[in-house]
C-alpha cells in the first residue's frame, strides 16, 4: 500500500518517522534484507565446505585434496589439451561482463531510456544463459570424468599419499598414488551442491531478468514513471556474481 517513492520523502530528520531513513523504497530495502539473508545461506554452505575439507583428518592436508587445476582442465573442442582453469575463467568473465551490462541497464533506467534498458537487459540475459550453459558443460565433463555425489574417483596426489603414509594413516585407506580409486569423498559432492545452489540462483536471476525485460518492453515502467524494478533485479544479479567470486575461489583456486 504505502509506496514511498523517493520523491515523496518529506524534508525532515532521517529517523523521525514519516519517511524512509535510507531514502529507499520498501521494495529495494526488502531486496537488501533478502540478500543479507541469502548471504548467510551461502556462508553456511561455504562453512560446511571448509569444515568438511579442513576438519577431517584424512583431508586436512591440502595435498590430499584433489588438485582442481588438473581436473578442470578441459575446454570445448580442444580435446586432449591441458588447459587448467581456462574454461572456468571464461565462465567467470562472462558472468562478470553480464554484471557490467546490468549496471548499464540500471543507469539507462535512471535516464528513463527504455530502448537502452532493453538492449542491456538482453545482453545481461544472454550472459546469464551463457554462464548456465557453460556450467552445464562443466558438470557434464566432470561427471564424464567419474565425479559422483557418493565417491571421488580422482584419487589423491602423490604428495598427499606420501604424507598420509608418513603419518601412518594411509594404511586405513586403499589409496594409492595415481590409481584413480576413492579419494576424499566430499570433494565432488560439495562441488555439485554448492555450484548447483549457485547455478540455481543464476537461473532464478535469469528468470527475473526475463520478466523484467518483458515488463520493460510492454512499457510497464514507462507508465510507472521509474525503472526501480531494474535496480532491484540488478541488486540480485550483482549479489549472485559476488557469490560466484567466493564459490570460484573456494572450489577452483584453493
Amino acid at each position: 500500500m504505502a509506496n514511498h517513492t523517493p520523491a515523496a520523502f518529506e524534508n525532515q530528520p532521517m529517523w523521525a518517522g514519516g519517511r524512509s531513513p535510507f531514502n529507499v523504497s520498501y521494495g529495494k530495502l526488502m531486496m537488501w534484507i533478502f540478500l543479507l539473508s541469502d548471504a548467510f545461506t551461502f556462508s553456511s554452505l561455504l562453512v560446511q565446505y571448509g569444515a568438511q575439507r579442513f576438519s577431517n583428518v584424512e583431508t586436512a592436508v591440502t595435498t590430499v585434496w584433489p588438485d582442481p587445476a588438473s581436473i578442470f582442465n578441459h575446454f570445448p573442442f580442444m580435446h586432449g589439451l591441458h588447459l587448467p582453469l581456462l574454461f572456468v575463467s571464461v565462465m567467470t568473465f562472462i558472468l562478470i561482463m553480464s554484471s557490467v551490462t546490468m549496471v548499464l541497464a540500471v543507469e539507462a533506467g535512471h535516464r528513463k531510456s527504455k530502448k537502452e534498458v532493453q538492449t542491456y537487459m538482453i545482453y545481461t540475459i544472454i550472459g546469464g544463459v551463457m554462464f548456465l550453459s557453460c556450467q552445464a558443460w562443466e558438470w557434464y565433463t566432470f561427471i564424464h570424468e567419474g565425479a559422483r555425489l557418493y565417491g571421488n574417483t580422482f584419487g589423491i596426489t602423490e604428495q598427499g599419499y606420501n604424507h598420509l603414509h608418513s603419518v601412518g594413516f594411509a594404511d586405513h585407506f586403499e589409496w594409492a598414488p595415481g590409481d584413480r580409486t576413492d579419494g576424499p569423498v566430499p570433494f565432488a559432492a560439495l562441488f555439485f551442491i554448492v555450484t548447483g545452489f549457485h547455478g540455481f540462483h543464476v537461473f532464478s536471476g535469469v528468470v527475473i531478468n526475463v520478466v523484467v525485460y518483458i515488463m520493460t518492453v510492454r512499457g510497464v515502467f514507462e507508465r510507472r514513471g521509474h525503472y526501480e524494478m531494474i535496480e532491484k533485479a540488478g541488486l540480485y544479479w550483482h549479489f549472485v556474481d559476488l557469490v560466484w567470486v567466493f564459490v570460484f575461489t573456494f572450489f577452483y583456486l584453493i
Binding site: 518517522g17 514519516g18 520498501y26 534484507i33 560446511q48 569444515a51
Partner: protein, 627 residues
C-alpha cells in the same frame, strides 16, 4: 505517495465489496493475517499439548493400558499401550510443533503482524502480498507436518533437533523414512514463511513509521519484534543450508554427516568422511537464536503490558532496548553450549561458557526492569497483567538454571537430562507461552472489538501458573539425579524407578493444565462472538493501535490521515496531566513540539553539509586560480 492520495485510494478500495475469499482466506490485511496466524497457532498448540499428555501418560503409568491411546493412535497404541517408536515420534513432533509452529510462527506471526503496522502507524505491512504468502507457506508447512504424523512408518522420531545419523539413515529407526522427509519439507516451507515474514517486519519497522515515530519512540513490543525478525532472517538460512546437506545425505548418497556407522552390527554403508558434529554446529547456529526468537516477542509484550497495567513508565526504556540488542548479538555466538559433550576442545568450551554466562547480564537487566516497573506501581491485575507477571516469574526461575547449564563442567553431568527439560520448558516454553497469553488477553479487544471474560481468565491463569510449576519444577531434581530425557519407560531401570511417583504428579498436573487450556479456548472462541463490546481504548493505553477504530474493519487502519506521534509510548501517570495516560498521538499544548521547530524543518545537517562542501570547493578553486 502522499497520505491524501493514500486516503483517496483507500476510500476507493473500501467501496467495492470484498468477497469471502479475499476477506478471510487470501486476505492481505495484516489484522486478518494475524488472526489466521493466531488461530492456526492455537490449533497447533492444542495438538502439541495433546501429544505431550499422551507421552506423559506413558511415563507415569508405563504398565497400564489406556483405551484413549488406542482410540487416538490405532496401531501405535495397540491394547492401549503406546508404541515405543511412536513415543519417540510424539516427543519429536511435540517439540517441533511447540518450538516452530506455536512459539515462533504463532507468537511472532500473530503479534508482529497485528502490532507492527498498528503501533508504528502504517496502513499495512510494507508488502501485504508477501505477508499473505508468509501465512500460506506457514499453513502448508503445518499441513505437511501433521500429515507426517499419519504416515505408515510414523513421524520423524530423532528428537526435534533431528541429529544425524538418526535422521540421515532411512534404516536407523522407523520414523527416519518418509516421516523424516516430510519433516524436512515442512521445515523448508517454514523457513520460506519465516523469511517472507521477517523481511516484511524489518522493512515495515524501518520504512513505514508514521511522522514523529522515531526509533526511540517505538513501543518495546516493536523493538522486540524487530530484533526477533533480524535473528530469524540471519539464522534460519543456516538451518536451510544444514537441511540441504541432510537431504542430500538422505536421498542422494552423499556422506556429509555420516561416517563409520554400524547398524545392527553391520558396518552401515560406504559412508565415510562426514561428521555428524558439523550438523550440530549448523543446527545450533539456528537453534540458539531460535530460543530468543521465541522469547523476545514475549518479553516485548510483557514490557508493554506491565507498564500499561502498572500505570507507570517502563523502567529503563533505553536499557530495555540495549538489553534486547545485547541478547540478539550474543545469541549468535553461544551455540556451542549445546555441544559441550561433543568432544569440543575445552578451551573453546570455556569461550562458549563465558559468552553464555554474559547473556545473564542483559537478561537480568530485563528482569530487574520489570520488577522496578512493578515497584510501587498502581497495579491493575487484568488477566494479561497476571500472565506477564507469570512470565517474569518463569523467566527468573528458568533463567537461574541456565546459569548452571551454561557451565561446561556442570553441563557434562546435566546434559540430556530432565534438568535441561525443566530449564527450557520454564524459561522459553512457559515464559513464552505466558507472554503469548498476555498478548492475547491484552489485544483481544483490538483484534475482535470485544472483551474476553476476566473471571475465566483468572482461573486460566492461576491453574496454568501453578500446574506449570508442578510439572516442570520436580524435573530439576530428576535431572540432578541423572534421569535422562527421551526415555520411554523408567520402571525398567532400577535407579530411576524411584521417580515413578514424581512422574505421576507431573502427569496429573499436566492433565489439569490441559483442562485449564480448555477454559481458555472456550473463553477465546465464545468472546469472539458473544464477548462484551470493548471501548475504543479499554486499557487506557498510550500506543497508536488503540487510535485506529476497533469496531469497524478497515483495511488501512485509520480512516483519515495517519496519526502523528509526539512522544514516547510509556508516559503514564504524568503529574501534569489529569488522566493517568498520555497517548502518543495527542499534541502537548503546553510544550512546543520538537518536530515543528524551524531547525528540524530545514533538515539542518544536510543543509550545513551542502554549504560546507560549496565553501570547500570555492576555496579549492581559489587556490588554483579558477574562481
Amino acid at each position: 505517495m502522499s497520505t491524501a492520495a493514500l486516503h483517496a485510494e483507500h476510500e476507493a478500495h473500501h467501496e467495492h465489496k470484498e468477497s469471502f475469499i479475499s476477506k478471510y482466506v487470501f486476505s492481505m490485511d495484516h489484522k486478518m493475517i494475524s488472526k489466521q496466524f493466531l488461530i492456526t497457532g492455537i490449533i497447533m498448540g492444542m495438538i502439541g499439548m495433546i501429544m505431550s499428555l499422551l507421552f506423559r501418560l506413558q511415563l507415569a503409568w508405563p504398565d497400564d493400558q489406556f483405551s484413549i491411546i488406542e482410540m487416538l493412535l490405532g496401531k501405535w497404541g495397540v491394547d492401549g499401550k503406546l508404541d515405543p517408536n511412536f513415543y519417540m515420534g510424539l516427543v519429536t513432533i511435540h517439540g517441533t510443533i511447540m518450538v516452530f509452529y506455536v512459539l515462533t510462527a504463532g507468537l511472532s506471526g500473530t503479534f508482529s503482524n497485528l502490532l507492527i503496522p498498528l503501533q508504528v502507524g502504517a496502513r499495512d505491512m510494507a508488502s501485504p502480498f508477501m505477508n499473505m504468502l508468509s501465512y500460506w507457506f506457514f499453513f502448508m508447512s503445518s499441513v505437511v507436518l501433521l500429515i507426517s504424523v499419519g504416515v505408515e512408518t510414523g513421524p520423524a522420531s530423532g528428537g526435534w533437533t533431528v541429529y544425524p545419523p538418526l535422521s540421515a539413515l532411512d534404516k536407523a529407526m522407523p520414523g527416519s523414512g518418509l516421516g523424516m522427509t516430510l519433516w524436512l519439507v515442512a521445515i523448508v516451507l517454514f523457513i520460506v514463511s519465516s523469511l517472507l515474514g521477517g523481511i516484511n517486519y524489518i522493512s515495515t519497522v524501518l520504512n513505514q513509521r508514521t511522522k514523529g515515530m522515531s526509533m526511540n519512540r517505538m513501543p518495546l513490543t516493536i523493538w522486540a519484534f524487530f530484533f526477533t525478525a533480524v535473528l530469524g532472517l540471519l539464522s534460519f538460512p543456516v538451518l536451510l543450508g544444514a537441511g540441504l546437506f541432510l537431504i542430500f545425505d538422505r536421498s542422494f548418497g552423499t556422506s556429509f554427516y555420516l561416517s563409520d556407522i554400524y547398524l545392527e552390527g553391520v558396518g552401515a554403508l560406504e559412508n565415510i568422511g562426514g561428521s555428524p558434529v558439523l550438523y550440530q554446529h549448523l543446527f545450533w547456529f539456528l537453534g540458539h537464536p531460535e530460543v530468543y526468537i521465541i522469547l523476545m516477542p514475549a518479553l516485548g509484550i510483557t514490557s508493554e503490558v506491565i507498564s500499561n497495567n502498572a500505570r507507570k513508565p517502563i523502567f529503563g526504556y533505553t536499557a530495555m532496548i540495549i538489553s534486547l540488542l545485547g541478547i540478539s548479538f550474543l545469541s549468535f555466538i553461544v551455540w556451542g553450549h549445546h555441544m559441550f559433550i561433543t568432544g569440543m576442545n575445552p578451551f573453546l568450551g570455556s569461550v562458549f561458557m563465558i559468552l553464555t554466562l554474559i547473556i545473564a547480564v542483559p537478561s537480568a537487566v530485563k528482569a530487574f526492569n520489570y520488577l522496578t516497573t512493578l515497584w510501587r506501581g498502581n497495579l491493575r491485575f487484568t488477566p494479561a497483567m497476571l500472565f506477564s507477571i507469570g512470565l517474569v516469574s518463569f523467566f527468573i526461575s528458568g533463567g537461574l538454571t541456565g546459569i548452571y547449564l551454561g557451565n561446561a563442567a556442570l553441563d557434562i553431568q546435566m546434559h540430556d537430562s530432565y534438568f535441561v527439560v525443566a530449564h527450557f520448558h520454564l524459561v522459553m516454553g512457559s515464559a513464552a507461552i505466558f507472554g503469548m497469553f498476555a498478548g492475547i488477553y491484552h489485544w483481544f479487544p483490538r483484534m475482535y472489538g470485544r472483551m474476553m471474560n476476566n473471571t475465566l481468565g483468572y482461573f486460566h491463569f492461576w491453574i496454568t501458573f501453578i500446574t506449570a510449576y508442578l510439572v516442570f519444577f520436580p524435573m530439576h531434581f530428576m535431572g540432578l539425579a541423572g534421569v535422562p530425557r527421551r526415555y520411554y519407560q523408567f520402571t525398567l531401570v532400577e535407579d530411576f524407578d524411584v521417580w515413578v511417583d514424581v512422574n505421576k504428579l507431573i502427569t496429573v498436573s499436566a492433565i489439569i493444565a490441559g483442562f485449564a487450556q480448555l477454559l481458555f479456548l472456550y473463553n477465546f472462541f465464545i468472546s469472539i462472538f458473544r464477548g462484551k463490546k470493548s471501548a475504543q481504548n479499554p486499557w487506557g493505553a498510550n500506543t497508536l493501535e488503540w487510535t485506529s477504530p476497533i469496531d469497524v474493519r478497515l483495511h488501512g487502519n485509520w480512516p483519515g490521515e495517519l496519526p502523528t506521534v509526539y512522544r514516547g509510548p510509556y508516559e503514564y501517570s504524568r503529574p501534569d496531566r489529569e488522566e493517568d495516560f498520555f497517548p502518543q498521538h495527542i499534541p502537548d499544548e503546553s510544550a512546543p513540539e520538537v518536530l515543528e521547530t524551524e531547525k528540524s524543518k530545514k533538515a539542518p545537517a544536510e543543509k550545513e553539509a551542502e554549504a560546507e562542501t560549496s565553501v570547500f570547493f570555492a576555496a579549492v578553486k581559489r587556490v588554483f586560480g579558477l574562481g
